[in-house]
């Protein structure tokens, strides 16, 4: 009896330890991220001052909006990163829309709405090309969107002749400087896009179908869903998200600067996949993408406030991507055992 009791106690201990390890592995990226943020804030306390928090959130907004787009594509295409859904061209679409909007406002004297609509047309066109390449031609999303990323990058260079475009349009200045109920306009835009896309993907029947297509293609097909249309729609929606992000980018940079797509690409991928750690099943979600973007922005700000040299920032982000995806991979391995 006594022996049994002891062994049960040990077993419980072991289970507890196992569970603790499970939590550590599953929440590993978040814990590490948290520790890093605490460390950064400890060395530069003004990271947590109201003005710094506000600027971090403003920085987070374009990252979050493009990350929502990527989240949709990943949800609809499945999270296998080689053959599953991924859209690397979203930052390029956003940069293209930024260039178009800036050019329309500065050189063509268009109204803000006109400029925005032209930007939407450009970004959605890129999304449509991706959709075509993936669903009709049958390219893997990685290859298709890597190729469109490169071509759109070239097209942007032609449009802007690789020069900066300054914008001093009143609407742009308003978006940059004003706030609504105490919340800066870029953050408002982020929250609105979040609400719309989170509701669409996590609360409507369209969203449920997109999730089915990405989660279990065979089940989706036997349920009578035509997967191609849903996959194509996620690429178009990602283009739309890129155009909204472009509005924030135009306002934040007072125009268009060459090369904004590169930085956005890292931050977008990092935010989306770090965000997966916030969901219960460790999968990419729209709310997760937003949390991921906020974390990434705080980290960037913290690194700057700690006077970390610019050269190190890429390395930190690369290391974080690796930590996050390694933790996710270890978790998958554990759950398979």
């Amino acid at each position: 009896m006594r022996r049994m009791k002891i062994s049960v106690g040990r077993l419980q201990d072991r289970l507890k330890g196992d569970r603790l390890l499970g939590v550590l592995v599953r929440r590993g990226p978040l814990i590490l991220f948290g520790l890093l943020l605490v460390g950064l804030a400890w060395r530069a306390p003004n990271l947590l001052s109201p003005s710094s928090i506000e600027s971090s959130l403003i920085q987070a907004s374009p990252i979050a909006i493009v990350a929502f787009g990527l989240a949709l594509v990943v949800i609809g295409g499945g999270d296998d990163v080689v053959v599953g859904g991924i859209d690397l061209s979203i930052p390029a679409s956003a940069a293209l829309a930024t260039a178009i909007i800036s050019d329309q406002l500065t050189n063509q004297q268009a109204t803000f709405l006109q400029a925005f609509l032209f930007g939407v047309a450009g970004a959605v066109l890129v999304g449509a090309v991706n959709a075509l390449l993936v669903t009709v031609v049958g390219l893997t999303p990685i290859l298709a969107t890597l190729a469109t990323y490169a071509s759109v990058g070239g097209i942007i260079k032609v449009l802007t002749t690789n020069r900066r475009i300054n914008v001093e349009h009143p609407t742009v200045v308003w978006i940059r400087d004003e706030s609504l109920l105490g919340i800066p306009i870029p953050v408002v835009l982020m929250l609105l896009t979040f609400a719309a896309l989170a509701l669409l993907i996590h609360r409507t029947s369209y969203g449920a179908k997109v999730q089915t297509v990405g989660g279990n293609l065979d089940a989706a097909v036997s349920a009578g869903i035509r997967p191609k249309g849903y996959v194509a729609s996620t690429f178009i929606l990602a283009g739309l998200a890129a155009a909204i992000a472009a509005v924030v980018l135009v306002a934040r940079g007072s125009g268009m600067s060459p090369g904004i797509e590169e930085r956005l690409l890292v931050d977008m991928v990092l935010a989306t996949f770090v965000g997966a750690a916030f969901s219960a099943r460790n999968v990419v979600t729209v709310p997760g993408a937003m949390m991921g973007a906020v974390l990434v922005a705080f980290m960037s700000n913290g690194l700057i406030l700690n006077r970390v040299d610019n050269s190190w920032v890429d390395g930190w982000k690369g290391a974080l991507i690796l930590i996050v995806v390694t933790a996710a991979a270890l978790q998958t391995r554990r759950s398979r055992q």
């Binding site: 080689v82 991924i86 390449l133 070239g154 260079k157 890429d314 390395g315 690369g318 991507i321 991979a329």
Partner: protein, 344 residues
Amino acid sequence: MMSLEVGPPRASLLAKASIWLVKYAFLLLFGAMVIYFTSQTEVFLTSSNVLNILRGSVIVLIIALALTVVISSGGIDLSVGVALDFGAWFAIVSMASWGLPWPLALVVAVFAGSLIGALNALLIVGLGVTPFLATLGTFFIGRSIQQIGTGGGANINYRQAPEGFVALTQGSFFGMSMILWIGIALIVVYFVVLELSTHGRRISSLGMQQTAARVAGINTERYRIWVYVGSAATAAIGGILLSSGLRIYTPLAGFSYLLDGIAAVFIGASMHRDGRPNVPGTLVGVLFLVTLGTGLDLLGIDFNVKAALKGVILVIAIALALLVSQRLPRVEAWFDRLGKKSRA
């Protein structure tokens, strides 16, 4: 009665022609491009320009060969550009700063590049991270290391590079430029390993059915480790050639080869019977892309426009190549049915 006798041979002739046309659509496009550039510029089809194109292809070819093996094994390596940079960087630094003789510098350079591959292998094989995200991570880390090491990305000049090192690209051997010999040697090595040896079959079987390959008794982990380390080591050789040709190390120069390399592999795969990455196909893909770039240069197109045009043609070429490989069985099947119908 008459049509019954005449029908089948005519259909099969048409079928043969159509299948040939679809199968070699890409080569036809390549030919049309060469004819166009020749008609538009006087120097395009001169021997010196053709040699220029071939010489300019070698580094892209090296990256593409490395990627052919990785993609054939079912993976991807986005960090080949960084491995190339490391090769160039350590070749120059070990001679200029550490005073090593150049043959030893080559060993150091290949070793430094292989470290990138070893990190990838650790992440992908050891920890189970997907190749895309793992190599994306090493790409950013490698980029950052270069910026830190060069004080923000400054070039390292080495005008007094030893003659032997410079001769790797500029010297000649039996009347042919040395860099071409190196390119040919690498093609032969890769062709033998990937297309003729059992190892190549096994690597390819990883890409088609990894579980089946493991069940069949292949040590998949060891092969995957070698695939990533080999890819990085090959890319480092490309970096050595780049720094030997220019006598300079430019940080982050490797990234520009990545997309061309991937595109060449997929163009090549489209020409394969089963759509698999293969060495001869990759060679055609590389020649196509470099010819396109050189031709656009000779037409005197603005730098920015060239970037856009090349990107757009790349998308079209990859899409066309894949469409062709997918349609071919269908075209064959269609003519098959047609033949049966007319015989019936």
